[in-house]
Symmetry: C2
Subunit: 236 residues, 2 copies
């Protein structure tokens, strides 16, 4: 937890005092172990960041005097379109993307996605929110990514993706592609990454029709968990 996050409505009416008695208080007491007067990194979910001066703490609660004087880190100009991985991998990949600053992720069905993956409770709004908050707390960021669930491949790629990816560099990861993934894109990117085994040729064809260029991420065949952060590192 590199930043203590709270909602706007957890602040006192004048916006200067925050008081916690939950896992954030435990973290402050047990890991950060501040003295009264110490300043901690704080932020308002989907808002600004700043410092919280510890004015009081005991076994139950921590009280901070809050000053929100800075904007959070700039968002990564990246939309990831990801064939839904199995739930454990999905959680790690979404956490990693949040840590790196991606602000929009589309979880998409695809021929090689197992239908059962869509049944996981981890795709519930509350579960996702909890996961993304952990990512923001790691990163020192406040802006929650938007997660879109799209269970129909073709309508998404044909009807919704063109507007979503407008004026971005459009790339679809494809191990058999001739071209390599560019380095340091220098502009907004929409990056589509397939399931283990890749998108099927029909799907690659639809991405190409939507203006996406197939690119190889590496000489080796990367698993999704490795491919996502490696390609973000390469592009930004």
């Amino acid at each position: 937890m590199n930043i203590i996050l709270f909602d706007r409505n957890e602040l006192s009416p004048d916006g200067t005092i925050a008081r916690f008695d939950d896992r954030r208080a435990n973290h402050i007491r047990q890991v950060l172990r501040p003295s009264v007067g110490d300043e901690l990194s704080v932020g308002v979910t989907n808002g600004r960041i700043g410092t919280g001066k510890v004015t009081q703490f005991d076994e139950k609660a921590v009280t901070l005097e809050v000053r929100l004087d800075r904007d959070p880190p700039a968002p990564l100009p990246l939309t990831v379109v990801l064939a839904l991985p199995r739930p454990k991998v999905m959680r790690r990949v979404l956490h990693g993307l949040t840590v790196m600053g991606a602000k929009r992720v589309v979880l998409l069905n695809s021929a090689r996605v197992e239908k059962s993956y869509w049944q996981t409770p981890f795709l519930g709004a509350e579960e996702l929110n909890r996961l993304l908050l952990l990512g923001l707390e790691q990163a020192g960021d406040t802006m929650l990514p938007e997660i879109l669930l799209r269970r129909k491949f073709r309508p998404f790629v044909e009807d919704e993706l063109p507007a979503l990816s407008e004026r971005t560099l459009k790339l679809v990861a494809h191990p058999a592609a001739a071209g390599e993934c560019p380095r340091g894109a220098g502009r907004p990117v929409t990056l589509a990454i397939g399931p283990e085994g890749g998108f099927v040729p029909f799907e690659i064809g639809l991405f190409e029709a939507a203006g996406f260029e197939p690119v190889r991420l590496a000489e080796r065949i990367l698993n999704v968990e490795t491919a996502v952060p490696a390609s973000v590192g390469r592009l930004f």
Copy 2:
């Protein structure tokens, strides 16, 4: 499993026939589902890669006619010096580094490494070997990375690291560094990555004395699992 790996001594004396009745046979039968005559990607651990033509398979075993006609992918010219993460994270990071083609990883003690991490059975030679093989099978590679365990920080950094990192670009990840991690290094790299919370200043000082430049990997604070593949993606 994007390549079927076997040891040299599993081949027939003339080096042309391989026969399996273990998890590789199961994978071939249940996932790849070839017909007799189909060719699969195969490789000899620490040796060449090529094709295995299915000549026979039944409920128990699979027999391949093997032709090893190519070298495995070129190694990534990278040594990673990694403060030992907690065991689950360590396994995922080592797997990812193997998938990306790193061939030498030093697991190092550091002030912020919990001593108990060194007790994990996952650091045993057999457990490590099993994990690295899974990475090679994902990547389509044959060359096992070398894993060095170094439980004394200072003797390693002062006495061993200079020779290990000779004629490489020497970088140590440090969130507070002024300089950014370079892109596309274009030469061999030795990259040191600290524990959650980072190397302590004394440790950064010893790395600097060994010629390492502190660099920031990103504007945000990355967890180790994200930092490692993201920085490899950026450097290579």
